[in-house]
């Protein structure tokens, strides 16, 4: 029996779901292995009968939490798809400001009658990763996900293997691709602490790694900080690098420090 798979989204750009659609012919292979019963981005049908839930997006509002809990209750396996579901996404950068400040920043003074009442219909909630709300069985990291990795994860799920998401830094695949290290040509890069598995796609095309797949399990953060300082970054710039995709870790550290 083929398992039923449903794909859901919360706060996100839905780019990770698009990556699944971008598998092109391989999508047909995937549909031979699983029945996709819900996938808003590509199909009209929806079924509440699913074994595997693949969830994109960060969790922001109380109603999102309720909906995610509902999905979790129905699914045997829940997979976080992409950086938003895994870590809270780039939108999590806003968590370091208060909701009022965010509201002003995003919506300006729209709908303002008086200051106290301003923007009352716009929400600027805090963003969470899925695992801060429900139990997550597997993570497919990345912004966006690596579609080949998605295919491998499907195979792993169906054959009972551990997920193929590696735990080595981006540098490994970057070197195997024979890239020029961005540090050697005046750039800075989060690759040395960030989880590989993306085939170092950003540095391969000359872009600095922003750490969208999160950190490896034992990042050498101090050494990385020293390197960033050596390459001329200010404390604020370093903090910005660490906030882009990985502010979850900063929040956790702050929490633990309390």
């Amino acid at each position: 029996m083929k398992p039923n798979v449903a794909i859901f989204d919360f706060s996100s750009c839905e780019g990770c779901e698009l990556q699944i659609a971008n598998l092109e012919e391989a999508v047909i292979d995937v549909t031979k292995l699983v029945d996709i019963v819900s996938f808003r981005e590509v199909m009209k049908e929806h079924s509440e009968d699913y074994d595997i839930a693949i969830v994109e997006g960060s969790i922001a509002r109380p109603m999102d939490e309720e909906r995610l809990k509902h999905i979790r209750a129905k699914a045997k396996v829940l997979i976080a798809l992409g950086a938003c579901a895994h870590l809270g996404g780039v939108q999590r950068m806003g968590n370091k400001f208060g909701p009022e400040e965010n509201k002003k920043e995003v919506y300006g003074m729209a709908d303002q009658k008086d200051v106290a009442d301003s923007n009352k219909f716009f929400e600027t909630p805090r963003h969470k990763a899925l695992d801060e709300v429900v139990k997550v069985d597997y993570v497919i990291p990345g912004c966006p996900i690596n579609k080949n990795e998605f295919a491998k994860v499907i195979v792993a799920l169906l054959t009972g293997k551990k997920l193929p998401v590696p735990d080595y830094p981006v540098c490994v695949e970057c070197k195997k691709n024979e890239n020029i290290c961005l540090f050697t040509i005046g750039g800075v890069c989060m690759g040395p602490v960030s989880r590989g598995g993306c085939d170092a796609i950003c540095p391969t095309y000359g872009n600095e790694c922003e750490g969208c797949r999160g950190y490896i399990s034992h990042p050498h953060e101090q050494a990385q900080n020293d390197v960033l300082v050596k390459y001329g970054l200010t404390a604020e710039e370093i903090m910005n690098r660490k906030t882009m995709f990985t502010s979850k870790y900063l929040e956790e550290k702050k929490e633990a420090g309390k």
Binding site: G160, C171, K175, K176, I180, I216, H220, A223, D226
Partner: protein, 643 residues
Amino acid sequence: MKIIKKEDFKAFINALIKDSGMVIEGVKSKDDKFAFGPLESADELRLDYDVTLLPPKKYFLPQYESLLKFDLADPFSAKRAEFPKRKVIIGVHPYDIVAIRQMDSYFLDSDISASYLRRRRNTIIIGSDVLKVHDKAFFGSMGTGIVHSGFDLFLTDLGDRVTIEIGTEEGANLLRFAKNMREASPVDVQKVKALRNAMSSKAARGLLIKPSGWHDLLEKSFESIIWKEQSDKCLGCGTCTLVCPTCFCYDIQDDIHLTLKTGERMRTWDGCLLRRFTEIASGEVFREDILDRYRHRFHRKGRYLPDRLGFVACVGCGRCSSQCVPDIADPVNLTNMLFEASPHLVQDSISDPHTVRTDFSRLPEDADKVQMLHMPVPATIKRTEKLTDKEMLFEIELNSGKPLNHTPGQFVEVSIPGIGEAPISISSAPNGKSFEIVVRKVGDVTTKLHTLKAGDNVGIRGPFGRGFDVDGMKGKNLLFIGGGIGIIPMRSLINYVLNHRKQYGKVTILYGCKEPCELLFKSEVTHWDTRDDIEHLRTVDKCPEGACWDGEVGLITTLIPKVKFDPNDTIAVIVGPPIMYKFVIRDLKKLGVPDESMVVSLERRMKCGVGKCGHCQISGVYVCKEGPVFNYKEIKNLPEAFK
């Protein structure tokens, strides 16, 4: 030595590209750096390069390589991956030629790697002299700036002309594509010599100690604070090993294709600087501290490989130091720092980067006739028996009908195509056609194994490693001390001894596990109680209320004082989890058991089983080859053995 005008040289290269029918690769520019890649025209070839980002090892040990391809419906008729097309690589610098020779020695001098041999036999190497020295290069100091062999042809670009030295007949054959070539004049030969000497002296970066002195320097400064100071800055990114021409470690993983019908066994580069390099299935990491990983790399270059294969595994290319972001990978800086801080006089050893030369004439001409190191043979599960919640026993027979012919203490690599391969100790004494393994469910392979039944097939490689010295133990009193799943390999020896009971002296067996439910081989263990030619005690760390237990309660070490044995006339065989060794050995020493009378079996990540992949290495020792059984005396001074 021949010489040819530049335009005729270019015509030669273009003719190779167009008419030779081979893939022609050479050094090309990549932005302001250089890399080997396929040439489309002679104009792309940059003989004036300083160093390439990756060494030419990628042609012989590719970043990703399919070792076996299989159909999951019939996995044991696995095929070798397709034969690579014949290749010419142009522009290999002398230091890289030395590195290729070291690779030859590593992959061909023992346990021949068929996939390496086929690539090596299938590649023509055209070397070239260095014209521009990279500021991190130090091949001059390593003596690797000039080579007289190891190439098929060798080029020296003299500006308007190029000299060509012929290394092999195969190289000479290529010259049929060259026109207007003539003998080089003595003046030209002199020019080439002068150029080589100039480059080598330019590439001497003030290395205070000759490569032949590295061995002693590293040995004496193992505990130096410099390792900590440097490794504190280390990112653990693996770059220094990945870009190194003499780092050969690899990992192997199985892939199942999206159709779920086919799969392949893939090899990819790995590196000892990466944390998971030494991780075993249970999650234990043997070089957890970055200091140990950082130090291991240098010691492998300067001590372990010289001890093993006779060469210093560094050729002075400068790739590690030029690509290390925190700038701590430079062998020149490191050795100079250690030397300056060392109060010792450093002794010379015999090894330098040049001391190897693989004799290709003794190797099989056809690499495909060589048994592949990674090709398992099919075997059938005859019987399974659940021993505990986590452990299952499998009786296995090779489909060939031949006995495994193992020694107690050896291990096999068990593979399930598509899932992977895992090293598993043999648990039975050699006896008839079948053998037994006991498998704890921890990783992919072992979890899958637990779902298999009698009649199912698995792949087997081995037996591997050194087992127990059953002959040397004859006539001796034996004290077995087994902890947890350590009893699994130990059982192969215990049963061997019991099968030949009269040949051995007093037999004492101490066996401990965490809880009663984890006791393995229950009926055999209780049978030991009934034999009057065995003294046996068993213990559990703790006994939960209501559990049925007739043995002792307490750690395994608490059993030692309860048995009588003559410390000077007993061999202690100790197998257990890493933490157990320290305490058991300490207690036995206190009782006066000499080091040479203790025998241990160590667990490491024996990924390949044939001494190539690097994962199981403890300092310079390959557990898969020299172990897993060791005499304690042999390894007590290895700093990483009992950490």
